[in-house]
């Protein structure tokens, strides 16, 4: 391999502390075989706790997802809490929420990969999985929301003898296409970096288990050419998927921004929704990483405080950005003086469910700002996970405030009514548990840690003694 050395910029403070560089994963290398075994072990060990958790989740999915949805379809949306004027309820809240979750995955792996942030290496895959599984929940929520879901295929443009096509004026149509595109891209993007690891698993798997991995690994043998093609493909995808990702949530926001409703038709919604998505997404990554680290074997080696520190910083950053955009979105109606917008704001702050609004602000702004300043706290996995939980609650409520609560107020005051969810609650639990279940199953089928990326990173990092200080140097492996 052609190796060109260049020194990493090192903050002076770091050097002064004389900290042991081996706290960094990149400087704490282990033999390849051992590392692969560690990953495989974590993949293959299923404790009784694991089975209990899986069982409960399966039960929850069957009751709160499968049965509840059947019940909904069989009896019509009357069993949900939607009414006039709140025609869109928690279903849409969940949709937007899960799309948001799905954002962080791509954001982390794609953007960080493009920007060559080395800290990303161990947890890109965990994030990418979130994207795919999150989108599944988002899609399911949209279908739950439809009055006649068995006709959902009419949203596909397919030629028919009636000469009927979907209406491409409709933001819902854009939404539909955007989400499909995103699901496709993110799945591919999840699969590409997976190939070498699958090959690795294939080589170590025995008996029938070989077959699926052999098929999935596409005969990857790790030759120069294969690596080269893989890198090229991944770079292309990494660059290509970023605009897709931004467009998706912008388009989701257009569902609302395009409507002639107080609180909805706002031009800032595009970026605002993207930031909101990242906000909840980053938090979700933190939670997931904490769970993986604390429940799976050997993960303490791969996922280290430094990584939580990195995520923590991103969370703080995004939280500030979100606060800024929310302030924008709040300022315009407040200052703009449109009658209906004013009533709506009054309603959110003083109405029967005024507390939602304050909970949202506390969870989304106050808590992260108070906690994430300190590196020590940032690097504490469990603390970060708790903050993540709060942020996700806050972001879910934010969507709730935007959809059902804003829908309560329209230009016909005679029809204003409060929305009281019924079966939606179960379906929400259902989507969450389905997400977790898929994740848990995946954790035992594919390596959650992109071993080859870590190894690549460790190979390219070396320590070089310059005078007293030990400097970390990075070799670009081409």
């Amino acid at each position: 391999m052609a190796a060109t050395a260049k020194s990493l910029p090192q903050p002076r403070a770091r050097v002064a502390e004389h900290e042991d560089p081996r706290v960094h994963l990149m400087h704490d290398p282990r033999p390849r075989g051992e590392m692969n075994d560690m990953v495989l072990e974590s993949m293959h060990t299923a404790t009784w706790r694991y089975w209990i958790a899986t069982g409960t989740l399966t039960f929850l999915v069957l009751t709160c997802f499968v049965f509840a949805w059947y019940y909904l379809i069989a009896n019509g949306l009357g069993v949900a809490g939607v009414n006039r004027p709140v025609y869109w309820g928690i279903f849409l809240v969940n949709t937007v929420f899960w799309i948001g979750i799905s954002h962080a995955g791509t954001f982390i792996s794609a953007i960080l990969r493009v920007m060559k942030i080395e800290g990303r290496r161990p947890f890109t895959r965990a994030a990418e999985l979130m994207t795919t599984f999150g989108l599944v929940q988002a899609g399911a929520s949209i279908f739950m929301h439809m009055g006649r879901v068995w006709l959902a295929y009419w949203l596909f443009p397919f030629p028919n003898e009636r000469g009927l096509w979907p209406d491409f004026h409709s933001p819902l149509m854009w939404d539909f296409l955007a989400i499909n595109t995103y699901l496709l891209c993110s799945t591919m993007y999840l699969f590409l970096p997976l190939i070498p690891d699958l090959a690795m698993v294939r080589d170590r798997a025995k008996g029938w288990q070989k077959i699926p991995y052999r098929i999935l690994a596409l005969g990857f043998r790790g030759t120069e050419g294969e690596w080269k093609n893989l890198h090229t493909a991944m770079n292309i995808f990494a660059f290509a998927i970023i605009p897709v990702m931004f467009s998706v949530h912008t388009i989701v926001s257009w569902d609302f921004a395009m409507a002639t409703r107080p609180g909805w038709s706002s031009t800032v919604f595009g970026p605002y929704f993207v930031i909101g998505a990242l906000h909840s997404g980053m938090a979700a990554v933190a939670i997931v990483l904490f769970l993986i680290r604390s429940t799976m074997k050997n993960m303490k080696y791969f996922l280290r405080p430094e990584h939580f520190n990195l995520i923590g910083m991103l969370m703080l950053l995004v939280s500030m950005a979100w606060a800024y955009f929310y302030f924008n979105d709040y300022l315009v109606p407040w200052y703009g003086g449109d009658k209906w917008e004013k009533i709506l704001q009054e309603f959110t702050e003083k109405g029967p469910i005024w507390w939602l609004w304050y909970v949202m602000l506390i969870c989304n702004v106050a808590i992260p700002w108070l906690i994430l300043w300190r590196k020590k706290w940032r690097s504490t996995p469990w603390l970060l996970a708790i903050v993540g939980v709060f942020i996700n609650i806050g972001m879910w409520i934010e969507r709730y405030v935007i959809i059902p609560e804003a829908l309560t107020i329209n230009r016909m005051p005679f029809t204003w009514r409060i929305y009281i969810p019924h079966v939606e609650i179960f379906l929400t639990i259902g989507t969450v548990s389905l997400f977790l279940l898929l994740y848990m199953l995946a954790s035992r089928v594919i390596p959650l840690i992109p071993v080859w990326e870590v190894q690549e990173g460790q190979e390219s990092h070396t320590l070089r003694r310059v005078g007293k200080a030990e400097l970390s140097t990075l070799t670009n492996i081409e």
Binding site: N160, E161, R162, G163, W208, K210, I211, I215
Partner: protein, 182 residues
């Protein structure tokens, strides 16, 4: 192992197997569609050909077609109007006689049906100069009536589009959703 499977598929026999499987699926679908399209059992095997052959106008029995949405299916009253003067013979007439004796209605099964959400009205179509056989086919050649073609929206539209090609106002009217669906 998996490779062996795929190799097997590559053999001529394997290909034939795949072909047969696809064929089975396809024919199953076709069969299902055919089932929905086939004419239902009628209480009496009414010989249209005979009656039309005798020169009886369609509108004599299906009189509603002139002014109303539905042409109507005649009751035994109408049948009996003639048939009480004709000797009861063959297999079907006794059934009719039985209906009349027991004072029971003949529960005909409408065949040329459109769904409830389609409001087909005969009146304007006849006013537009269409004849019964334009849509109902050569009834003189049928015994029990069955539709000459699938009655679906594509079929309706085809004709509507042709009719109104050169007249934008009429075209708007004839291709308007609200013309049939309300």
């Amino acid at each position: 192992m998996a490779r062996r499977f795929f190799n097997a598929l590559n053999q001529p026999l394997g290909r034939i197997g795949v072909f047969i499987a696809l064929l089975a699926v396809f024919s199953g679908v076709v069969w299902g569609i055919v089932q929905t399209q086939k004419p239902p059992e009628q209480p009496i095997q009414f010989p249209h050909n005979l009656h039309v052959g005798l020169g009886i106008q369609c509108l004599y029995c299906h009189s509603g077609a002139l002014r109303g949405p539905s042409p109507g299916i005649p009751t035994e009253t109408k049948c009996w109007g003639c048939h009480q003067q004709i000797p009861i013979q063959g297999t079907e007439l006794p059934k009719l006689a039985a209906y009349v004796e027991n004072d029971k209605p003949i529960s005909w099964v409408p065949v040329a049906q459109v769904p409830d959400f389609v409001h087909f009205v005969h009146r304007p179509h006849i006013a537009a100069g269409l004849n019964c056989e334009n849509c109902h086919g050569n009834v003189a050649g049928m015994t029990v009536y069955q539709n000459p073609q699938v009655i679906n929206m594509g079929w309706c539209l085809k004709c509507h589009r042709q009719k109104a090609q050169d007249n934008p106002v009429l075209y708007a009217k004839l291709t308007d959703c609200g013309t049939c669906h309300y």
